[in-house]
């Protein structure tokens, strides 16, 4: 029935040997990728192989959307138009007031000699698809290094911060959502001005402030915005709203759970913000007594400092 010799005559290396070979190859790659990040070139090459298929896979959905848009009735269009007009009117009022306030703020900043804030450039992008990885919260957008996207740029939608660009391929980029466990964002409570760092909480789709002092000035319904202190996120973008505060009698900390303001897991269009302002580099930590041997311990210490709320 087969036109080749029976498989037990022609085998090559034993299957178990091959399994061992490929398993060790995979494990080596895993370690290289997870620990040292040396595999980015290989990843880019493979991503280009996968790109046509990814683009083709989202094409039917785009096509259905286009057909739906074409078939939308006139009544609906008129209705939408009226609603949008009303919204534009309301927003233009806000915009006028914002301009006045901005001018005033700039003047005050000049008065106190603070650095002038440079406007943030935005680049619209479309979500291609969500990552197929249930362990992390990532999405892919249809803009890459060809369009000038840089790793680390914040990503927002019309309601607030969505996440941050973590990996840039030539034509697409990967955005880690706020709700990913490894994602941290410096925030500020609008009502009290309290600063904190919000972490994603994984599968629940919430963000949380861990290790807040038990008497911290925070309550349900408080709005969290970016503080802008890290230099990555522009200040004042809405991040989340506090929904629950868990106080544990045994610990002296409270855990504050909040719901993201942006449509982190819905919506199709996002804005990639790029802050062109040249910030002064963080000052080198001075090593007391000009002791150069302590060079090695510098890295972990600076990491610890990031975590405690700066």
């Amino acid at each position: 029935m087969e036109h080749s010799p029976p498989p037990f005559f022609k085998r090559g290396p034993a299957p178990l040997v091959r399994l061992f070979f490929f398993a060790s190859l995979s494990l080596a790659l895993l370690v290289i990728d997870a620990r040292f990040r040396y595999a980015e070139g290989l990843r880019n090459a493979l991503a280009i192989v996968a790109y046509p298929l990814q683009r083709a896979a989202t094409a039917p959905i785009d096509f259905l959307g286009a057909v739906g848009a074409y078939l939308s009735t006139q009544a609906q269009l008129v209705e939408d138009n009226a609603a949008l007009r009303a919204k534009a009117l309301a927003l233009s009022q806000d915009a006028q007031r914002y301009q006045a306030a901005e001018a005033e703020a700039a003047q005050l900043r000049r008065l106190i000699g603070a650095a002038e804030r440079i406007p943030v450039k935005t680049l619209p992008a479309e979500l291609l698809y969500a990552g197929r990885d249930p362990y992390s919260h990532k999405v892919f957008i249809d803009r890459g290094s060809q369009h000038g996207i840089k790793p680390g740029s914040p990503v927002a939608d019309e309601a607030g911060v969505v996440g941050q660009v973590t990996r840039v391929h030539p034509l697409i980029s990967e955005v880690t959502l706020l709700t990913d466990r490894d994602q941290a964002i410096p925030v500020q409570v609008v009502r009290s001005g309290l600063r904190a760092v919000a972490f994603g909480s994984g599968p629940s789709g919430m963000v949380e402030l861990r290790f807040m002092a038990a008497d911290a000035e925070i309550q349900n319904g408080d709005r969290l915005v970016t503080s802008g202190i890290d230099g990555t996120y522009p200040p004042g973008l809405p991040v989340a709203t506090v929904v629950r505060i868990e106080r544990d009698a045994e610990l002296s900390f409270v855990r504050v759970v909040s719901r993201p303001a942006a449509g982190v897991d819905r919506g199709r269009f996002v804005l990639v913000l790029s802050d062109e302002s040249a910030r002064p580099a963080r000052p080198e930590e001075t090593v007391p007594g000009k002791d150069r041997r302590k060079d090695k311990s510098r890295h972990p210490r600076s990491k610890g400092k990031d975590g405690d709320g700066r």
Binding site: A23, L29, L42, R43, L46, A56, K138
Partner: protein, 168 residues
């Protein structure tokens, strides 16, 4: 080596195999709403070819496909490569046994193989410091196993001879 009532098949063509893998990757990359409930089509098609054509599709193909899936999904490079290598090994090892059974029992065997591969991915991610995403994770391999009879029918279609041809 084939099942009892199976008709004679033409030899599989490489073209069919390549096309089926491209289709499986395409299905994997569709924008699914919740990915834990969607079967991994690449793993399923890979298991199919490893069972049917163990000397054409083996661990090397599995490993390369795993890398493409890893890069396309933006996950740790090598986790699917590792899982697919094990999947291919188990499928090849069990291929003669699997082909002896009818479609339902074949699917049961494949379910076990897919669950083992999924568990391997889970272990890798837990070792890398991720949290457990819930038991819904195992819906995906079981859903894939349910599709096995349909995939078998579909992928053997190009190898079927016409009735007229068989009687000659």
């Amino acid at each position: 080596m084939a099942g009892r009532s199976e008709q004679l098949l033409r030899p599989a063509r490489v073209r069919t195999i390549v096309a089926s893998f491209a289709l499986a990757l395409f299905l994997n990359f569709l924008p699914w709403p919740d990915l834990r409930f969607v079967p991994d089509f690449v793993a399923l098609v890979l298991a199919f070819w490893c069972v049917r054509q163990p000397h054409l599709v083996g661990l090397g193909v599995a490993w390369a496909l795993g890398l493409v899936v890893d890069a396309g999904n933006g996950v740790l490079l090598g986790q699917h490569a590792l899982a697919y290598s094990l999947l291919a090994f188990l499928s090849i090892w069990l291929s003669r046994r699997i082909l002896w059974f009818g479609p339902i029992l074949q699917a049961a065997h494949v379910a076990v193989v897919l669950v083992v591969a999924q568990t391997l991915v889970l272990l890798v991610r837990l070792a890398a410091g991720d949290s457990f995403p819930g038991w819904a994770l195992y819906v995906s391999p079981l859903a894939a196993a349910v599709l096995w009879p349909m995939v078998t029918w579909l992928l053997l279609l190009p190898q079927r001879r016409l009735e007229r041809e068989q009687t000659i």
